[in-house]
Amino acid sequence: MDRNAFTIPLLAIAVLGVYFESEQLTKPAPPDGKVHVAYWEKWTAFEFDAMKKVVDEFNKSQNKIQVDILSISNIEDKTLMAISGRIPPDVVGLYGENVTQYADSHAVITLDELCKEAGIKKEDYIPAYWNVGVVRNKLYALPSTPATTALHYNRGLFKEVGLDPDKPPKTFHELDDMAEKLTKREPNGHVIRTGFMPGEPGWWNWAWGPFFGGKLWDGKSKITFNCPENVEAYTWVQHFSVNWGASALQSFQAGFANTFSSSNNPFMTGQTAMEIQGVWMYNFIQKFNPQLDWAAAPFPAAKPNLPDPTVIDLDVLCIPTGAKHPKEAFEFLKFVETQKGLEMLCLGQKKITPLRKVSPGFIEHHPNPFIKLFIKAAYSPTTCAAPKIGIWSQYKDEITNAFSEITLMTKTPKQALDDVNNRMQPMLDQYLARLRARGEE
């Protein structure tokens, strides 16, 4: 018999088999009579697990709404595309710095009325965090997990070079001196350890100006990136390249790009002795180098009148425009925003809470030994947050590039800052003019 006679029937059976199996796998779950709320979140790993617990708790608490949480990468871009395609999720977990751009684009709905009805009041929150969600006097986002930053330093390396590990730097002058002592170089200038580098981890390259008392814009219509305080700040940034060699620093830093969440993180490996980091750093130290002898302290002050500078960082929850179930989505937000919900989430992620009040035991049971320091930082007189400006993503990219030019010493700080100013001012003018034309400013 012809062998090929079997081939086609066998192939047909295989194709049919695959078809029926895939049908089984992709079959939607039978209707359970609940409203399903689609929730997109940016977190992964333990941060996602912490929110998943809150979601599970909410789902158990009632029988009308089912929240389905999904982890999404590049959430700020993908959500926008989903909204424009009219298939948005019902709840989205964004970064605080996205709120203005989303609000100006009408991509998220206002929450003022819903919060009023639900009794969610701004007085209950730490002002710096509540304000992140407010754009042009309207509320568009509610806080989920907040953070502040502080100086993290390696006590072991302090001891190694004869510094007192209980006396971290309090001023930028002390920071510079200690950084010099902690830096190790080979005779050929090759850097093998830095005491401190302003570009590590490089997430807040825009914050050095505000740490020196500078502003990124006047809050209305003027970009002020080249103000004297900012020039002073980036002159300080450049002095590390002047002292240790721009090329040597670049080469050293290139070795640990994208290693934050790994055992190659330069702070874990002892390649950098001090760095600015957020409250979350504790989790990563525990995971990748629990033996590390480290401590956190308020970040040194650049000037005596600017004590305890810190970056206000916040993740937020929003309801996208066009969400199919906004009411049910808000029911979930209401649950998260209770003291119990936020503490469950923030303790799960080992962060601070955005609420003024904390339950008895929250601090005592918190695993981060420096949690009080991070809570106190949220009330610091020298806080800086991403400016509420709709062109912030582009502005931030420009600052990142200027930072690179400054550290590479291809431009003077003044030149680099002037260039950013000259580039961003017309963009802001145009942005505001278009908002005005639409009657939205």
């Binding site: 050293f252 030019e405 291809t410």
Partner: protein, 293 residues
Amino acid sequence: MKSISRRESWAGVSFASPWLLGFFIFLGYPLVASMYFSLCDYSVLKPPVFVGLDNYKQLLSDDLFKTALWNTLVYAFFALPAGMMTAVILAMLLNTKVKGMAAYRTFFFIPSLVPQVSLAILWKWVLDPEHGVLNPILAKLHIPGPNWLGEPHWAKVSLVIMGMWGVGNAMLIYLAGLQDVPTQLIEASELDGANSWQKTRHVTIPMISPVILFNLIMGIIGTLQVFTVPYIMFPGGAPAHSTYFYTEYLYDNAFRYHKMGYASAMGWIMFLMILGLTVFSLKMSEKHVHYQG
């Protein structure tokens, strides 16, 4: 007869309809729409507002646009000839009669199957100045390895080198072309006393010139649209925008800065640039490309 041909025409159109529908919905409509959006202030979420040629005028005075365009042209200027020459040389080597040739061909083709994202990560570890494998090898040869990823001019060189890694597809097309070169022509040139270089220069290259032209045009399109590898290896075009390419700026405008109108204008300029270069290549080819028969 007439009705049969009409029926056949309908049948032809019907059979082609899935492709035609796809073409008009997924290519034709976006093309026309992007032309319109390029004349609008359009953030995707709000209705487009007609602004005439504002986006084009603004592009002319946009320094970052000029930087991205310059970076792209410099990259294409070096990567295109480097890639083409590598592919031709490899194809010629793989066209010789050596034992185990199938294995060699597979070996040289495999890198082009590596996904771009994996390629970017792989090369990052090869070129890393501190922990990479290339600089220690250079050090053994007493050559000081540069900071491939951190210094503006070396970053572009890195990308050109990486571009040569993925020449497998072009190489395969050249190989097919080389195998099509009539042996009688080679033999005739041998009888005339031609040496290896003369045979290559006066017989092989003219005979594969249509293939070279095809790869040149594909190369122009590919190098001017370089995106994935620099996007992953050098976020934001670091260091100091030295690796910030045209398509990255277009992507950022469209999806990160929500300036879809501005991005559409950039897309049209890129389209016209590629069209111009392709027409120029075809015109130039009239003198240099020889078609058999």
